[in-house]
């Protein structure tokens, strides 16, 4: 007979940037089973999307995730352009790829910082977030926003990158490259990070195939899945770059893949900037008359993996059905494999290893009356409900079972 203790992480926990409840069932220090509760962050985006016009949906899907806010409009644009049979201009392709890759750099830097934070190594956290700032400044210069760039539309992009800005973009990028060198050197050679991440949270190739994991999580286990290569879109077929993979499948391999991917992103951006100089300024949109009836599949490689949008059009000005699959949705499910058998201290970094984005995972919920399902709760019911939930959580957090 073994007695297991329940250790909850979440729903609101200082380690996590977003709400999600993980229940670790532990025997001593070893995690024996893991369960999770989602549903703290629902916004019903798929249903909302059906009530918006195609132009409005871009702003909606941009708000699915704050960190990879370009990948969703990217995939949605791909899907709608597949329905309408549109091929955007080369200048728009380059601009789209530049935004996508800048986002990858800042997201990976953010993850490296958070991973350091999870390990209790706050120097890495401060460094990485400091070096991420120039990338956000670059975003502000190009798009006017540090986040939620609002650059995408059907048939092109909303704003041009003027050729006069290219020199200063190059300058900031070279600064970022220097800092990334510094950070990569520090992280890859640090004995503490080696000791904490090597052999931790291993996912084998078969696990990845079984759970359908994508992105750096899959690539760190030796599966070269990358939509940019497999199903080329935007400017990715026009430039030279390679897919980074690692074999070990542990957290260190995931960090390695992410850090090296930043260099590929910088190389892609530099090639895109060269391409941009050749194209005519302002030639970034084509006219779209109407979206015909049909279905479209849009894929884009977000920093965390493949984003998939499935759009059904009935010929009207808004989607008839819009299905969104964010990468964390499949990656989080792999915890069942990677966490079990680890110690609690390692479980936290394993959870962080896939770079989970809970906002992406949860897209739908509406507050309804319990019994009838008819109306949205009023304030009093909401407070009562909250009190009930809290009481329930208190109960589970002290619960032990044989």
């Amino acid at each position: 007979m073994s007695r297991k203790t329940l250790i909850p992480i979440g729903p609101y926990h200082p380690l996590q940037e977003e709400p999600e409840l993980f229940k670790l069932y532990c025997d001593g220090e070893i995690v024996k089973d893991i369960q999770w509760v989602t549903g703290y962050n629902h916004r019903s985006i798929e249903k909302l999307s059906e009530s918006k016009t195609y132009d409005q949906v871009f702003f909606l899907v941009e708000r699915i995730c704050g960190i990879c806010s370009t990948s969703h409009p990217f995939a949605f644009a791909n899907a709608v352009e597949e329905i309408a049979g549109i091929e955007v201009t080369d200048r728009a392709k380059y601009i789209r790829s530049i935004i996508g890759e800048l986002e990858r750099i800042h997201s990976h830097l953010l993850w490296v910082g958070l991973a350091g934070h999870f390990l209790g190594y706050n120097t890495v956290f401060m460094w990485a977030w400091k070096y991420r700032e120039p990338v956000l400044d670059l975003f502000e210069m190009i798009t006017g926003n540090r986040n939620s760039y609002a650059m995408f539309k059907v048939g092109g992009v909303r704003r041009d990158i003027e050729n006069s800005k290219i020199t200063s973009i190059r300058k900031i990028l070279s600064d970022v490259r220097k800092k990334a060198d510094l950070l990569t050197g520090a992280v890859m050679d640090d004995p503490v990070i080696h000791a904490r991440t090597k052999g931790v949270g291993v996912l084998t190739k078969q696990d990845v195939i079984d759970y359908g994991a994508v992105g750096p999580t899959a690539r760190a286990s030796g599966l070269p899945i990358d939509v940019r290569k497999d199903d080329p879109y935007a400017a990715y077929p026009l430039v030279n770059w390679k897919v980074i993979t690692a074999e070990a499948g542990d957290v260190f391999a995931k960090a390695q893949v992410r850090l090296l991917e930043m260099y590929e992103s910088m190389s892609i951006i530099e090639q895109c900037l060269k391409g941009l100089e050749k194209e005519k300024e302002g030639d970034m949109n084509i006219k779209v008359n109407e979206i015909p009836e049909g279905i479209g599949h849009g894929r884009a490689e977000a920093p965390r993996g493949e984003v998939f949008h499935f759009v059904v059009s009935d010929g009207s000005n808004s989607p008839a059905r819009h299905k969104i699959r964010a990468p964390s949705y499949v990656n989080i499910a792999t915890f069942k494999k990677s966490c079990i058998g680890q110690t609690i201290a390692d479980a936290t970094i394993t959870l962080a290893g896939v770079d989970p984005c809970y906002c992406c995972t949860e897209r739908m919920a509406i507050a309804y009356d319990f019994s009838t399902g008819e109306k949205i709760m009023n304030a009093k019911e909401m407070i009562d409900h909250s009190a009930r939930q809290t009481a329930g959580l208190r109960k589970t957090s002290t619960e032990c079972y044989e």
Binding site: D210, G212, P224, D230, F310, K323, R325, M364, Y368, D369
Partner: protein, 152 residues
């Protein structure tokens, strides 16, 4: 490991299961099959043809409930949709979760939002509303009415 996939072979091998094949372009293929043979065809795609399961999308249409199971053949960029049309009154189909884990969550989600029943699913609990949703209310159905005005 990477085997070439040819849609013509699929058409030949599963002649009795396939109802219709729509090829939008070489990288987007929609194969409509009988709901009863979903395990057989999906099993072939996953185990033998080397496809990766992306996600499934349920749609509520005039024909009933439709599910598109999106499969991706990586390296070639092919997305193959297995498309089934389910009965309007009693939508149910065999679960794929016993074959691979990737479908586990999405089947729970479709059960919760559309009321489609997945037979032999290991755990068809609610996924995203943590059990506080009214029973028998499926918000993603087209006939669902969301009323925001409170009744006095």
């Amino acid at each position: 490991m990477v085997t070439e996939f040819n849609i013509e072979n699929l058409k030949k091998d599963f002649k009795s299961e396939i109802l219709e094949v729509t090829e939008k372009n070489p990288r987007r293929i929609i194969v409509t099959i009988k709901p009863a043979s979903i395990l057989k065809v999906a099993g072939f795609l996953y185990k033998e043809a080397g496809f990766r399961f992306i996600i499934a999308s349920a749609i509520h249409t005039k024909r009933g409930f439709e599910i598109h199971y999106h499969f991706s053949k990586d390296q070639s960029g092919l997305i193959l949709n297995l498309h089934v049309i389910l009965d309007r009154e009693n939508p149910q189909v065999e679960s794929l979760s016993n074959m691979f884990n990737a479908t586990n969550w999405i089947e729970r989600e479709m059960h919760e939002l559309f009321g489609i029943n997945f037979l032999n699913h290991p755990n068809q609990d609610k996924l995203i509303s943590e059990g506080n949703w009214a029973e028998g209310v499926y918000p993603y159905r087209k006939d669902f009415k969301s009323t925001t005005k409170e009744k006095e």
